[in-house]
Point group: C2
Chain length 157, copies 2
DNA sequence: ACTAAATGGTCAAGGACGATTTACTAAACG
DNA sequence: CGTTTAGTAAATCGTCCTTGACCATTTAGT
């Protein structure tokens, strides 16, 4: 039977939970990022799935299957995302010289410029965070997040 | 024209970006949480939208309209989530004695027990993080995230 | 070399989720 | 009263992803 004491405990946990703060912070970060990107120009409309694809495009291009593998989705799903970004002229498919079946997905000139713009928006937001956190705590946050991502990336026990 | 130097810069930024680490960490956290919750019993299947609703249910019940407002969605959308959770016997709708039109959404006994279970899963994951981070860095992470959430919660400049 | 299996990719259909719009009932408020 | 507020109902939508079928090419087995 739930008591008032139980509820106070729940409240304390909710406020104290690193996990919940992490999730909330990430959501806010993503919203702010997409809002600024899509505000500063009617060029294209990036969606969440696109932004999770883009970081996996390598300098010399990446195969669709490899992208799908890295994202943990089917190659059809990855193909759809690539097609979207292709129609925005951010990505292009070129034949892979080492395999006649394969194509390499890579940035267009414009896509690369857009990525640079995007990263500068990200840096801007991060510098706003650093302004309130301070340099030291920002560095600590960065280090801690590296460890967190590393730990959570390993398979479940 | 993109150069190799540009690419190296991009790579450095990607690895260094607090924003991207935050988003990735949150995604991994949520995945691990839902996986464990849904693994330790075939009782119910919680989805992401449900877990974002639950923390807003107050001790004495919360009105649907208020839930919708807090979540930033329409009351119909909130109503649907509540209906889902109701059919899992985690929530119930009761008449609000202070307003004949209104109903209060509140936890059932079972729902509250499940919440406790859920929070203990969360604490478990967090303790695993603390095991690799160390107590001090875990505390620093917590404090930094509080500031980050606070800063990102304020309206856009 | 020749065929069989594996691999890279595309097309089409559609499902799950998380919402929205529009329309409605019932109660409260003033 | 008439207007506002709480909630429900039904249809639909956008996003993101899957399944299934298929073609072209490479790789392996014998």
């Amino acid at each position: 039977m739930p008591t008032v004491r139980d509820w106070e405990a729940l409240d304390r946990i909710k406020r104290a939970s690193v996990g919940q703060l992490l999730i909330k912070g990430a959501r806010l970060m993503q919203e702010r990022f997409l809002a600024r990107i899509n505000r500063q120009g009617p060029k294209v409309t990036l969606r969440r799935a696109h932004t999770s694809l883009l970081p996996h495009i390598d300098q010399h291009g990446t195969r669709l299957t490899e992208l799908a593998r890295r994202l943990g989705i089917t190659k059809q799903a990855a193909g759809q995302l690539v097609s979207d970004l292709e129609s925005m002229a951010l990505l292009e498919r070129v034949d892979d010289p080492r395999d006649g079946r394969a194509k390499l997905v890579r940035f267009t000139k414009r896509g690369l410029e857009s990525i640079h713009d995007g990263l500068s928006v990200l840096r801007q937001i991060e510098s706003e965070l650093e302004a309130v956190l301070g340099k030291t705590k920002m560095r600590q946050l960065h280090e801690a997040l590296l460890v967190v991502v590393d730990e959570l990336s390993r398979p479940e026990p």
